[in-house]
Subunit: 636 residues, 2 copies
């Protein structure tokens, strides 16, 4: 076993200690509120009881959604990341209990899925499209790897290995097929990395390669009555289900599950956006292991399609609610679906893309997504969550405490808890600083120990200080220059160095108590969307540093659609507002309401406009005060 | 019987002969194509067969929608209007056949509804909300009145009278209740006027007055299993049916059928827009007969709400498809439902409002609706129809030849055929010219015979000439000055007279071969919508004379959302285009596409715009060439 677990030059959470004015309070709330609350929900929702019933050999009495086991697994994964970074005996004991329960519920042959064990034991693996056995197995494996790496104990890892072995015995042999919801693919790569057992990588490759080549999913959609979980298998919990899965002519459209053609032939990011992100992340993992050119080309082609034609300015993904996913190029309607989990999945994928290529653009996108598309998903107090993240609301969209389909909160919890993974990275014998988050790290690069201590004023100001010490040894340091930084300046021990406009600034020297000071100017920028984006025609979005801003009704007198031609005048940091935010203040043009009387339509020549104050707040912070309208894209 | 039929000073179609460059070809196509095609459809759809089966005493075998009888009635009505204006032996024979068939199908007691007679004879009058027996009865009565007035024969009128007598015996006595779909109310007033029998007016008043006061409709919605037509009665053919009828708390919301409160207490136009128009039209008829102040106040309040807060610039009504109707003030989203029948219903209502008040604003709105919201509903060749009339389309909205619910085509047919009703009117011993449509009329005003011959270049040019002769007798003539006419000028025998800016110009003299020449300047006007209309914020609509214009993809190089700040440069009449239209040509700003490369978002400071040609065509003419996008409201 390799408790380090990652690729040969990976880093692990326990190396990084985060102490950041912006992120630390959020991570603490995640730990103290969210993970605690989620544990209670595991009991409340019957998730743990399902495992208890299976462990006790009972049948029937299943509670919740058919893929509810994954809630327990995601909770363990998030909790394990917390335990990797701090002692928490209460949490550790809870994790142990849940791990034991899961182990007890595992079948003799390694099978583990409480829905099928309790309700339809004879129907295992019959409904790959909808019933999510492999999806749950993937989350079990991710939890097991995290738990093992955090604690060194192998209880859950053994469970995962036994189940993975069973899956490997069954799939590719007696059953040919892929899961309707990707997840196990990237989990199997993790399991391969931590165990060194090649069959898991091969099984991941099997699932990735077969997708889009066989017609099993299509057959299932057309024959729901023959499947396990038939009450779900017809898609009846999904509104307008057949339209999600089928084309207008009634034939199966694999797009929903990225199964419309082999991955290597895909040109556009399609279908359910979380599934897409998990698949592409796994494929990037596979490419990291194999170096296969065709796969790398496909992944980069998909990334380019996503980032140049199918991504919100917040990093959010997928406009359409009906199938929770992508539609067509430039369809970026502002009543976006943009599921929080898709933003999280994008961060997973982009991290792997960085690892594959070493390119800063992936870390840039992680930053954009972290501060906007992801962070908006969680209320400031950490107790409520958006499933959907529109860029415009009439005032009727609000975070909720939990969901019938509770995927977003535990996914957010595990991302908060593993934030340290995204700050630094080792690659090509260099140490990368990818995110500017206050933290310390002690690690080794090619056998040389190096200490970094980072202090960051982001996102409110672009002042970053990094103290570096390697006892005089030389280690290449690569500092990301954010694409948004307009006139970046960097000094080392007070001396200015040349800085590229983006990408990485490489510094190499015999590090001995050296101080690097980075200054990323943060001006308010008005962004336009590509001319083909109908939804944003004649509109601008305000951006400052990594943050996208929005107008909220609570700060502005007029209905938001009336604001036009905003001119940012100043920014002001307000420590008392929304736990401390920098607001953008300015003026904008609104219609003069005089003269309208009872008219509904008037000649433009008889109408007038006036300029009034306008205030914008960071998008991530919206819907934390009085309910009301919000819009990111303001008329220009 | 009063074959003149209307109010004491009404006019009848046969007095008016239309000969107009714009309207005559449309009316001819309506007669030669639409009414003919509709007749074929009556056979094709099983509508006539339903009557035959009832006449033959058969049961079962009903074909089509449960309110399909009304198709036959509406066809007879439209055909009768044609017969009132010209000899057409073939059409007359067809009408006679259908009338005979209907008469044969009537029950001994006067009952007439083929659905209930064939399918559920025991369930008459059990499902007032959904099953439309009274709605069909209303169309029977309208057809009967039209047929009697056109032909002088009483066959169908007797059928209608017998059925109306039965309804009057049943309702208000053994049954208290109102129809879910208004229509019979206005029909009963017509029947009263032609027969002079007071009970029909009283029955109309009963239905109008009871609406919103009893809870029968609510009870039906909650007890669909006890009703006739249960397979329809649960609203299952209406998508998302309960949400149409119920509030969020699950209780019945009478708004859909204007039954949420008594009409005299209603403040806003609500619910299904066709139903609303028919109810308000009937209520205005009732007010004409009774002069009741409270009713008149309610009607005028509703009209003000509609025209100042809930009406498209085309005169279209009702944004929401789910309940085919009105929503909230200023909700004028451009993917409008705006059913063609609602525009027709608005014309019916406004004509009655004019008769009630003599105010020009109602004739103004009839003109706006005729040339835009109504006329767009029919293809140039008269064979295809819009049910919905959006003000913006991505290119996937097209007219269809017929509909499962075929209400719009026959409604359009009867309006085209009765256009003469809207051109002239007698009121307060004066002769009104309400619409500028080339025509001749010979009529009497207070016993004085007067001949008018009108020549009109509308809508392409505002030149109108009216020759008047009354053998030297004096008759007040009231000429509508359209609200859109900017500098109207009028001469009588070459001498300029003073003209009000809108309303009516009254001319009175001893008419002897006099010539009135009216000139209504037609400039292109850019209209703004009220600041509260979110959908049109930052947009303008182009209008010229009575016509609203739109951009169509086929005339313009760029996607329509890219056009901004249009500046009309000139107008040009193109006789070869769209059967002859005046187009608006100009320039507009569009994004410079250079420099975008693979960017999805760029600072506005790095983007540029350029001006290119833009062409707008009359809204009514859209979707008659290559399919493509269309938009009325252009970014400003």
């Amino acid at each position: 076993m390799n408790q380090q677990g990652g690729r040969a030059d990976g880093m692990w959470l326990s190396d990084v200690e985060i102490d950041d004015e912006f992120w630390t309070p959020r991570r603490e709330r995640n730990r103290d509120v969210t993970i605690d609350y989620q544990y209670e929900q595991l009991e409340e929702s019957g998730t743990l009881e399902n495992f208890r019933r299976v462990a006790a050999g009972k049948s029937g009495g299943f509670q919740g959604m058919w893929f509810q086991d994954s809630d327990a697994y995601k909770w363990i994964e998030g909790a394990s990341y917390v335990l990797a970074q701090r002692d928490d005996p209460v949490l550790a004991e809870r994790v142990d209990e849940v791990v034991s329960l899961i182990a007890e519920a595992q079948g003799e042959d390694g099978y583990l899925n409480t829905y099928f064990s309790l309700v339809e034991p004879e129907s295992r693996w019959t409904n790959l499209h909808m019933m999510h056995e492999l999806y749950c197995a993937g989350h079990l494996i991710e939890a097991a790897v995290a738990h093992y790496r955090a604690t060194g104990t192998e209880t859950l890892l053994d469970v995962a290995i036994d189940f993975a072995d069973l899956i490997d015995d069954v799939f590719g042999d007696e059953i040919q097929g892929v899961p309707g919801h990707e997840e196990i693919e990237l989990a199997l790569v993790k399991l391969y990395r931590v165990t060194g057992t090649r069959r898991y990588l091969d099984l991941a490759a099997y699932f990735i390669d077969l997708r889009g080549k066989d017609d099993r999913l299509a057959w299932e959609i057309d024959n729901p009555e023959t499947l396990g979980g038939a009450e779900y298998g017809d898609g009846s919990i999904i509104p307008d289900a057949r339209s999600v899965f089928t084309r207008e002519d009634g034939t199966y459209d694999g797009r929903y599950a990225q199964a419309h053609k082999p991955l290597r032939e895909q040109e556009t990011v399609d279908g359910h956006s979380v599934r897409a992100m998990y698949l592409y992340a796994a494929a990037t993992d596979l490419a990291l292991e194999t170096g296969e050119d065709e796969l790398i080309e496909a992944i980069e082609r998909l990334w380019t399609n996503m980032t140049t034609k199918r991504m919100y300015v917040t990093g959010g993904l997928g406009p359409e609610a009906a199938h929770e996913g992508f539609t067509t190029d430039y369809d970026l309607r502002n009543d976006a679906y943009a599921e929080t989990c898709a933003a999280i999945g994008s961060i997973f994928w982009n991290q792997r893309l960085f690892e594959l290529t070493g390119e800063a653009k992936y870390a840039d996108l992680i930053e954009r997504t972290l501060y906007n598309g992801f962070l908006a998903g969680i209320s400031l107090d950490g107790t409520a969550f958006f499933y959907e993240n529109p860029l415009e609301s009439d005032g009727d969209h609000h975070r909720k405490g939990w969901f019938d389909c509770a995927c977003c909160p535990p996914n957010a919890a595990r991302l908060f808890a593993s934030l340290g993974d995204y700050v630094y990275s080792r690659r090509e014998s260099a140490l990368y600083v990818n995110q500017y988050v206050g933290s310390t790290v002690t690690t080794t690069v090619d056998g040389t120990t190096i200490d970094l201590s980072q202090d960051s004023a982001l996102p409110w100001s672009g002042e970053v200080t990094i103290d570096v010490d390697a006892d005089g040894a030389s280690v290449p340091l690569r500092l990301r220059i954010p694409a948004w930084a307009e006139s970046p300046t960097v000094t080392v021990n007070g001396e200015t160095v040349d800085v590229p406009t983006d990408g990485y600034l490489e510094l190499e020297r015999a590090w001995t108590d050296d101080r690097i000071e980075l200054t990323f100017e943060q001006t308010v920028t008005q962004l336009k969307a590509h001319p083909a984006v109908k939804a944003d025609a004649g509109r601008v979005a305000l951006k400052r540093g990594p943050l996208v801003y929005c107008l909220e009704a609570v700060d502005n007198d007029r209905p938001l659609h009336q604001y036009e031609d905003p001119s940012p005048v100043s920014t002001e940091h307000r420590p008392e507002l929304l736990e401390g935010v920098t607001v953008i203040e300015g003026a904008a043009s609104v219609p003069d309401r005089d003269g309208w009387d009872d008219d509904l339509y008037r000649p433009v020549s008889e109408t007038a406009r006036e300029r009034i104050d306008v205030t914008a707040v960071p998008y991530y912070a919206w819907d934390n005060r009085a309910p009301g309208a919000m819009r990111v894209w303001i008329r220009s």
